[in-house]
Structure formats: C-alpha cells, structure tokens
Amino acid sequence: MTRFLIRRIVLGIVTLWVIITLVFILYYARPGVDPARELAGRAVTPQLLANLNKEYGFNLPVIVQYWNYLKRLVPWPGVFNLGISNNNRLPVTTIIAQAVPIDISLAVGSAVIWMILGISVGVLAARRPRSLWDRGATVFVLTGVSMPTFILGLLLLYVLYYLLTIHGIAIFPKPGSWTPFTQNPLEWAHDLILPWITLALITAATYSRLTRSSLLETLGEDYIRTARAKGLSERRVVYRHALRSSLTPIVTQFGIDLATVLGGAIITESIFGLPGLGLAVVQAIQVQNLPVVIGIVLVASFFVVAANIVVDALYAVLDPRVRVS
C-alpha cells in the first residue's frame, strides 16, 4: 500500500511538473514571446523594458529563468511564491485565497445535490431495468450529458431569474450575489442555489449512469443471489449489500469532479458572476494578467492531481485487487 501510494504521489508530482513546464514554455519561453513587453503595459519605453528585464530576469538564459521559476514553486513557507498580479499588485496567493471559499461553497453544495440526485436516479433505473423509470433515467442522463453547462446556466437564469423577476416574482437572487457562509448561512445557500443546480444537474447524469451500470453488475453477482436466497428484503439487498459495493467507481468519479469544481467552475462562475477561481482566471486571461493565470492553472492542476491520488488510494482501500496491478 505504501509503495502504491508513493508511486501515485511521485506520478502526481511528475504530472504537476509537466503542467508547470508547459505553462512556463507557453508564457515565458515560447518563440516570439516577450514577457517584459506584455508586463510593460500601455507606454513601452526601451528603458522600461530594460528595467523589467532586469527586475524579472527575462534576459537571463531560458534555463536559468526556468530554474528560478521552479524554485519559487517549492511548497515551503517563505519560498513558495506565485508572484504578484499585474493588475492590482496583490500577491497571487491572496487572490487565490479570496476566491477559494467560493469554489469550496460551490463544490460542497452542488456535490451534495448531484450525489443524491445522481445515485437515486441510478438506483431507480437499476432496480427496474427497462422499466419506465429506467427510460426516464436514460432521458435524464442523455439530456444531462448533451447539455452544455452554459446553456443550462443561461436557461436557469432566463427562466428562474429574469422571467420571474420581470413578472415581479423575485425568488432567485441576481447573478453575482455571494454571501460568505460565516456571515449568513441562509443567505449563502440562497445566493448559490442556481449555480448549485446548474453544476449538479450537469454532473448528476454521469453518476446516474455509473450507479446504474455498477449496481446492475453487482446485482448479478453470486453473493447478492445468496442474500436474496436467504430471504432478505429486496430493499435490504439493494441498499445494504449491493449499493455499498457498487460505489467504488462512483467514488473515483466523485473525487475528480470535486477537484475540478474546486479548481474553478469556469463556465458556471462566469455565468453567475461568482468571483471564484474560474471567473478570476477568465478575467485574468482577458487582460493577459499572466501571474494570476499561471497561479490559478497551477492551483487547479494541483487539486485535480491531488484528487487523483486520493481517489486511487481510496480505490485501493475499497478494492484490494487494484494494488496488485
């Protein structure tokens, strides 16, 4: 198990390193790129370029720049440094720290909804394969899979916010509303309800599909037949025995999805104006604010890579066969 974990962690670090290097090449070492020029802002003077090159070391050999770039990413207090936003000179870490609570709120709320929704639809479908329930579930799944996030988000905004509001029924908050949980939990939930629904509906489809197929497979196994033969109620068989053991693939998917949202739900945040990592990165890209873009890309990648490791570890705990391979 330790070996397995070490292996996964080192692979994760390699993945991060690849991403970090790609980002470096894209932004600092790509042929024709002139980072000082992009940093210089609106009035470029040769002197300013020279100063910037000196200050940021853009005139050093690429390999030295790369080394300096890597050095400050060592996760150690006092060393770790994502730089300063070109926009407002805030440390990028501060910008990220301000945005992350929004992503956590988004992730937690929507994850609860998509897990409950996804798994229950999947169970319904699996318990009566080829029934009306199952067909309904299939429609749900296929619609969810076919629905681009921004369409669902815009539709929800149009119908539940815009149409209702212009008819004087202002139930749902306007886009851009955000209340910290610590300030008012009810307001917090109220402000996030539409983004949660958007993320959850889109994501739940995958879980229904996973639950259905996984549960169907488990229900066909011998020990379930034994359980049935023992005279256990169907409820008990499904919920206590089968469901538990068919959750393994769901756990895997869950970890990755959660990490993706934590790293910034780009579309959802853009549509609902939530100042999380996703919106921050889109805005930073629009104004070519490189330190922020790079910082968020790295953080988001870290979430995904870390989630992959956790998921693999969990998987190995749940299913010992994995360790062998």
Binding site: L26, L142, S146, T149, T203, G263, I267, T268, V281, V304
Partner: protein
C-alpha cells in the same frame, strides 16, 4: 488416409453445427445496421442529424433566399433605432436578428457547419491519434507503454477546459486551433481504451499466430488487432462528436473559440449575452440547435453501442465526462 477420405470428412463437417447456417452471410456491420433499423430512437436521431447536415449544406441556399449573408451586418435595417436586435418575423428575418442586424437563421445554418466540422474533424483526429498511440502503447508494452500511458494519464488529469482556454489565449483563436485543442484533450480518452484492449488482445493466440506467420509488428497492430477494437472505438467516437461540439461551443462562448465573424452557435450565445435576455430569440434558437445536435449524437451513440455489443456499456459508463463545469 487418402485425400478422398479427407474430402468425405469435409462434407460431413457442417453437420457439426447446423445452427451455423442460420447466420450465414451476415457480416457484423449488417448485423449492426439491422439492429439499428429496429431502434426507433436511433432512427429519429439519424433523421435529426441528417436534417442538421442538410441545414449546414444548404446554408448558402438559405443565405441566397433570405438575401442575408452570414457575416453581412444590417445594422440600418436589421436593428431598431437604438441598435437593438429585431424579434423573429420582423422585416424578413424569420428568426430575428442579432446585435449587428444579422439574420439569426442564416447564422445558425452556417453555425451548423462549424459545429459539425469541429465535431467530426476533432473526433477524427482524436480517434486516429488515440488509436495509434493506444495501439503502440498496448502492443509494445515496456518503456514505450510506460511513457505513452503516462502521457495519456497526464492529459486526462489536466484541468482541460482551463488548459484549452490558456492555449487559445496564447495562440489566438481560430478554427484550426480549436479543432486541435479539442482533439488533443480527447485523444487520451480513446487512447486509454484502445491501450487496454490492445493489452489484452496482444495476449490472444491469433497474435502469436500472425507472428509465427512472419507478420511484422505494424501488420499485427493494424491488420490483426485493430479490427478487434473497432466496436469500442466507433462507439466512443460517436459519443466524442457531441462532446467536441459542446467543447467548441464552450470555447466560443468564452470568446476563445471560432474567430469572429464566422458564426458558431457558441459565439452567437456569447454575443447574445452582451445584448441581454430581452432579446430572447437571440438565445433560444442557437441553444435549441446546439442541444438538438448533441442530444441526437448522444442518442445515436448509445444506440450504436447497444447494436454493436450491449456488454460494452461498462466502458462508457465510466467514460470521462468532457464537459466543462
């Protein structure tokens, strides 16, 4: 024993299994087609797809009939005094106009070209690359497999929407780049499946048989193993098309996909967002077409999967969702 007895024996042989006669002459393809023909959902999906293809092909015709080119701005006649879009039905604009007075119907028709082109081409590239990479990794194994599988793992654990945005922001948006970016983030999904299948296929005796006949590695990979992977690859590819279409629409929606003024359903919605919900027609029609297309492809993909081999479901249930959150 003489040759005559061999012949005599040969004539007896079919008697070993009389049932064999029943499926004579039906190739796997014929079987799939036959099964699809009985699937109502598949037929409807195909009809929808054919209609959208017809719309795409007939786009210049629609432009000619309406007299509105896809990029002709008609701000003078196509918008009201304040420069706002006209609703459906006004002044010869069947589905209304956009913020530059362009005919939404014409732009949707030309947008279908982009969607289909991106969907099909990106999928084709991803499939070819994925198959080649997966085959090489799975067939050769060893260090080549380690490297290729690792690369695919890294690509799959990228926060891909984020990375796509970064890539496009660095290189500038264009149709070609959009297709390449989508293909890049999709090939690993196919590659991984193909690798897994190739890993198991290469242990089969027929591979050894081919080897013993003197077949080279390339011949074994592409003549012997590849036909055995066609079913999962076809299904995955069919399901990748709508994913690629959504991906393109998402990039375009963020202003990072198809370059203006070429219409794409995604950048039409992006334009719509700049106008506001009161121009509902500017939202609803591109949404409708986008959703219809992705749904049709997903339904068809599911049907093809069932027709090819119902048992493959497990593979796709766990397939990575390629949809931005």
């Amino acid at each position: 024993m003489s040759l005559s007895t061999v012949e005599a024996k040969a004539s007896e042989v079919p008697a070993e299994d009389p049932a064999v006669k029943g499926i004579q002459g039906r190739t796997p393809l014929q079987l799939v087609v036959a099964r699809l023909r009985t699937d109502r959902v598949a037929i409807i999906s195909i009809v929808v797809i054919v209609l959208i293809v017809a719309l795409a092909i007939g786009a210049p015709l629609i432009a000619a009939i309406t007299g509105h080119g896809p990029t002709d701005t008609n701000v003078d006649t196509g918008t009201d005094a304040n420069g706002q879009p006209l609703p459906p039905g006004s002044a010869g604009y069947l589905l209304g106009t956009d913020n530059l007075g362009r005919d939404i119907l014409v732009r949707i028709a030309f947008g279908a070209r982009v969607s289909l082109l991106v969907g099909v081409l990106a999928t084709a590239i991803a499939t070819i690359v994925g198959v080649v990479v997966g085959l090489f990794a799975g067939y050769y194994g060893g260090w080549l497999d380690s490297i290729l599988a690792r690369i695919m793992d890294v690509v799959l654990s990228f926060p891909y929407v984020l990375f796509a945005i970064v890539l496009v922001s660095v290189f500038g948006s264009s149709l070609e780049l959009t297709i390449l970016v989508i293909a890049f983030f999709s090939f690993a999904a196919i590659g991984r499946i193909v690798r897994g299948q190739a890993l198991s296929q290469r242990e089969k005796e027929y591979v050894e048989a081919a080897h013993s006949l003197g077949a080279g590695n390339l011949r074994i990979m592409f003549v012997d193993i590849l036909p055995n992977l066609v079913a999962p690859v076809i299904v995955l590819a069919t399901l990748l098309i709508p994913t690629a279409i959504i991906f393109e629409a998402t990039l375009s929606f963020l202003g990072l996909g198809i370059a203006l003024p070429t219409p794409s359903w995604g950048n039409m919605l992006s334009d719509a967002e700049g106008v506001g919900f009161q121009a509902w027609w500017f939202y609803i029609f591109p949404m409708m077409f986008l959703l219809l297309t992705t749904l049709a492809f997903n339904l068809l993909g599911d049907a093809v999967r069932d027709a090819l081999d119902p048992r493959t479901e497990r593979i796709f249930a766990g397939r990575r969702k390629k949809k931005p959150a």
